[in-house]
């Protein structure tokens, strides 16, 4: 075919590109940094391997059979009326059913194991954080520390984190690919997500549910600090930030993304509830 040479050249260029671009995958679950994401990745690999094994026959047989039985190859047998065989029927129905049953067991176990509501087993009590999706930023409230932040989630590495989520606007979805899967946050409701970082680092978090003009800007960093540094950070926040006041509350509902993360040195005790009630009353 006339396209062939050009096609080949392009294909040859692809692996090079891939090398250059593999850096991309470092931002995803492949480069997991916590126990939850690690289990996700294990599941990925298991299912991936099974599926490659199942894909193989189709990918091989289709071109082979089509080519071997081409019209111009007159040497092969030709049986236009042959259209059934119990053996083949068995082969195309039973093994796939078996594989699906096997995968179902795996699916059932992992779905329960990775239920986002399920607490992470650990010697330490989880850090409680309340997350609020807003137009186009995230508010994080630390109810036990009485502080709050916008667009930065700081957590101690090694300790489980229990997020309770709601939204002060339309529905949003919180995803931190290297730490955990996503869950929706909706007005008037509270959903939950458990996650943990196994080592210090900075990980990207984002809203993945489209919510208007500023959607692409709604990203934040999750900063996992060494366990010892976390109380220091809390202390710093209490000392240096400014207390959350009525203006700040109103500001939450302005449609904008702050250019820098914000830290509040104190947060009212019922802020989370207050936001839930407010959005149910005003509708926006």
């Amino acid at each position: 075919m006339m396209l062939a040479p050009r096609l080949l050249r392009l294909l040859a260029a692809l692996p090079l590109l891939a090398l250059g671009g593999c850096a991309a995958l470092e931002h995803g679950v492949m480069n997991h940094a916590g126990p939850i994401a690690a289990s996700h990745w294990h599941l990925y690999v298991i299912v991936g391997v099974v599926l490659v094994a199942v894909a193989g026959p189709v990918l091989l047989l289709t071109p082979l059979i089509a080519w071997h039985y081409r019209l111009s190859n007159k040497r092969h047998a030709f049986r236009p009326k042959w259209d059934f065989s119990w053996t083949l029927e068995g082969l195309i129905w039973i093994p796939p059913i078996g594989i699906v049953i096997g995968l179902s067991v795996l699916l059932w176990d992992y779905t329960h194991m990775l239920d986002p509501y399920r607490p992470i087993a650990s010697g330490q009590a989880p850090l409680e954080v309340q997350a609020v999706g807003l137009d186009w930023k995230w508010l994080f409230i630390y109810p036990d520390e009485h502080i709050a932040t916008i667009n930065r989630l700081t957590i101690p590495a090694g300790r489980p984190v229990h997020l309770r989520l709601t939204s002060g606007t339309v529905m949003q979805s919180l995803l931190i690919p290297r730490l955990a899967g996503q869950i929706y946050a909706m007005t008037g409701m509270v959903s939950q997500l458990n996650l943990a970082a196994s080592h210090p680092g900075v990980f990207l978090g984002e809203n993945t549910q489209f919510n208007g003009k500023g959607f692409q800007d709604q990203k934040f960093n999750v900063v996992a600090l060494p366990p010892a540094d976390y109380p220091k950070w809390v202390g710093q926040a209490r000392a240096s930030g400014h207390p959350f006041d009525a203006d700040d509350f109103a500001g939450l509902f302005h449609k904008s993304s702050p250019s820098q993360p914000v830290v509040f040195s104190s947060a009212p005790p019922h802020l989370f509830r207050q936001i839930i009630v407010r959005s149910q009353e005003t509708g926006s």
């Binding site: 599926l51 030709f78 049986r79 959607f215």
Partner: protein
């Protein structure tokens, strides 16, 4: 004084509703692209209208096409509609790819608001106004011929469905010229699409376009199902129907039961927006989760509505071009039926991340995976159909092969998504976008294109150009892989869908590759246009009037190409699954029947176009709050329906003489044509008469 009247007449229209005015006031790239698109719509419409006027074809179009109730013409009109809409949606797809490729740490050339309209129109058009019309058109054209019928069960209703779909499509087009379109995506999730967050006309355009389209599709589904159930020719038992008819039947069943949830979802959203109800609002007890639930009760069966007819096409094509009976007919039928039923049991997989219990997610995940089994059976059945056959690599066959190898990959990523924990990661990312394009393009689109190449000679009497077909095929395959495989990588790296700008430089190379792929896909479409042009130009040389260019197997090949208005001079009687194939071998299928009879057919009717125009007007009135227009439109539609029920002189008769003349012209041509062997079917020697081998 004008104070009271103008708003009542114009509703919420104002000058800034026109993209030209907006571009004049804020001449940035984004607004100019918008104005350009609006201009293209207007200029295109004016050019087409001028051309028709110049050629003096209005009367011809009106009386021969627009008011026609002939299923063949309606089918062709559906496909033309699909083509027009597709051209727009394709450009939007390419624009989005260009935007993302240029918007790494920079704003690119399309503003966020405009980008949101792009993915919303692109998705809406591709699903409702490209894919649905395409497959509806194909079924309309082919199915009655395959079951040996003269028309569908309700020809006038068929025309009404067409014009409702066209009205809905027109509404989407109108949003380019007046106002804006929704920014809520093709799934239109509230509360974002509620008045509090999307106050403009965009969401209303989306609501009414989708509602009209879904009503049209429901009616189509009813029509097809009844046709297949009640109008098969003598001897065509259910288990003798061609597979394409089986898939058409299952698709119709899905339409009948899956469109209502969509209608309910959009209607309730409309009640919220227009009458201050509280179904999905944030306040006063609204609950958007019910919307997600309703939408996907429709949305999931919808993707099988799209894919099943394509499966039908592949079954026909693989069998014909392997010169062999379909392997495993029964298991293909069972697989189709199983997919149909299962598709009602998996909708939750579109919102695994909403927070329901693990038991529910797991149950629906398992149901989802179960669909892989019958789908796989189908693929293997096609492989075994080629086995021990004589495979000819014509363009439809090439599409089928590319489909089988590519669809499997999409199916596998589908299985990955069916695992709730994996979906937690991939949901709302480009991984998902890659999955569904991987199903929709190699599945639905290759299927429709294969069907287009396969039945085009039947519909128009000449073959499509083979060379340009191959060029286009090459672009389709290469373009698809380049454009969408990178999205898997980007999605696995956490890139969210529907993002206008990107802040991660390492994504850039992948976005470039995807951009190149999108351009190649545009090239693929362009080569299809070239192919059409070349084929029309050379049509004399590629005539297949005798009607059987591919050594076909079903009844549709047993008549002339193009078929006469009445399809069959004498309604056929069949006694096998491949009546025409067997017929050719048993006796002369081109022998004239003993006698011709008068044939009664439904007369053309203005009902369809009238309802379409009125529905478009009423919907437009609703969008712009021009209540007078909405009310007049709705009342007028009722008036048309009632008036139609009073019509009595609704049929016309073709005399036996005329039938005889038409048939004899064809039989003479068949007698004069040279039977050609399969090796020569792609040459101009092919006049539509197949050499009959064993």
């Amino acid at each position: 004084m004008t104070d009271g009247i103008l708003p009542a007449v114009l509703g919420r229209f104002e000058w800034q509703s026109l993209p030209f005015v907006r571009a004049w006031e804020h001449p940035n790239a984004s607004e100019i692209v918008g104005a350009g698109a609006g201009a293209v719509v207007i200029i295109g419409a004016i050019l087409v209208a001028a051309l028709i006027t110049r050629l003096g074809k209005w009367r011809y179009l009106w009386s021969e096409w627009f008011t026609s109730v002939d299923h063949k013409k309606i089918g062709i009109m559906y496909i033309v509609l699909a083509f027009v809409m597709l051209s727009r949606a394709l450009i939007e797809g390419v624009l989005m790819r260009m935007q993302q490729a240029t918007a790494v740490n920079s704003p690119g050339f399309i503003a966020p608001d405009h980008f949101a309209q792009l993915f919303s129109t692109h998705g809406t058009i591709m699903i409702f106004f490209m894919a649905m019309p395409f497959l509806t058109g194909l079924i309309n054209y082919v199915m009655p011929l395959q079951i040996g019928s003269r028309d569908v069960a309700f020809p006038v209703l068929n025309s009404v469905s067409l014009w409702l779909t066209a009205a809905a499509a027109a509404l989407v087009m109108a949003s380019l010229v007046v106002g804006r379109f929704s920014t809520g995506g093709w799934s239109g999730y509230p509360p974002y699409t509620e008045l509090a967050f999307s106050p403009g006309v965009g969401t209303d355009y989306w609501i009414w376009a989708v509602t009209l389209g879904s009503v049209g599709s429901t009616l189509t589904g009813i029509n097809f199902a009844v046709t297949i159930y009640k109008m098969r020719c003598a001897g065509m038992r259910l288990m003798r129907m061609p597979l394409f008819v089986w898939t058409a039947l299952c698709t119709s069943i899905l339409m009948i039961f899956a469109m209502p949830p969509l209608t309910v979802a959009t209607a309730l959203l409309a009640l919220d927006r227009y009458l201050d109800f509280h179904f999905f609002t944030n306040d006063l007890g609204g609950n958007m989760m019910n919307y997600a639930n309703l939408f996907w009760l429709f949305g999931h069966p919808e993707v099988y509505i799209l894919i099943l007819p394509a499966f039908g096409v592949f079954s026909e094509v693989v069998s014909t071009f392997s010169s062999k009976q379909l392997y495993g007919y029964t298991s293909l039928v069972i697989a189709t039926a199983v997919i149909t039923v299962l598709s009602f049991t998996v909708w939750v997989h579109h919102f695994f991340t909403m927070g329901q219990a693990a038991d529910i997610n797991a149950a629906f995940g398992i149901a989802t995976m179960a669909i892989g089994v019958p789908t796989g059976v189908k693929i293997y059945d096609w492989i075994w159909t080629m086995f021990l056959g004589r495979v000819r690599f014509t363009v439809p066959m090439l599409f089928s092969l590319a489909f089988m190898m590519t669809f499997v990959l999409g199916g596998f990523t589908g299985i990955l998504l069916a695992f709730p924990p994996l979906d937690y990661l991939a949901h709302n990312t480009l991984f998902l976008v890659a999955h569904f394009h991987n199903m929709l393009i190699p599945g639905l689109l290759y299927g429709m294109l294969a069907g287009y190449h396969y039945w085009f000679p039947k519909a128009f009497g000449f073959r499509l150009d083979e060379k340009w077909g191959r060029i286009s095929f090459g672009c389709w395959v290469l373009g698809f892989y380049l454009a969408f495989m990178p999205l898997y990588v980007l999605g696995a790296s956490g890139m969210a869908r529907r993002t206008q700008a990107v802040f991660e430089p390492s994504f850039r190379p992948w976005l470039y590759v995807a951009g190149i792929g999108a351009l190649l896909l545009a090239g693929a479409l362009a080569s299809l246009f070239v192919q059409l042009w070349v084929s029309v130009r050379d049509r004399k040389a590629n005539r297949v009037f005798a009607g059987d260019p591919w050594d076909g197997r079903g009844l549709e090949w047993s008549i002339s190409a193009p078929p006469p208005e009445y399809n069959f001079a004498v309604l056929p009687q069949v006694n096998s699954r491949h009546p025409f194939h067997d017929g050719k071998r048993q006796d002369d299928p081109y022998a004239p029947p003993r006698a011709y009879e008068d044939i009664t057919l439904p007369r053309n009717s203005m009902t369809g176009p009238a309802i379409g125009i009125l529905a478009a007007a009423a919907a437009f009135g609703l969008v712009w709050h021009m209540w007078w227009l909405a009310i007049i439109g709705a009342l007028a539609i009722s008036a048309v329906v009632i008036a139609r029920s009073f019509a009595r002189d609704v049929e016309h008769t073709i005399s036996a003489d005329e039938v005889q003349r038409t048939e004899q012209r064809w039989l003479r041509a068949a007698a004069n044509a040279a039977p050609i062997p399969r090796e020569l079917e792609m040459t101009s020697a092919n006049q539509g008469l197949a050499e009959v081998s064993a």
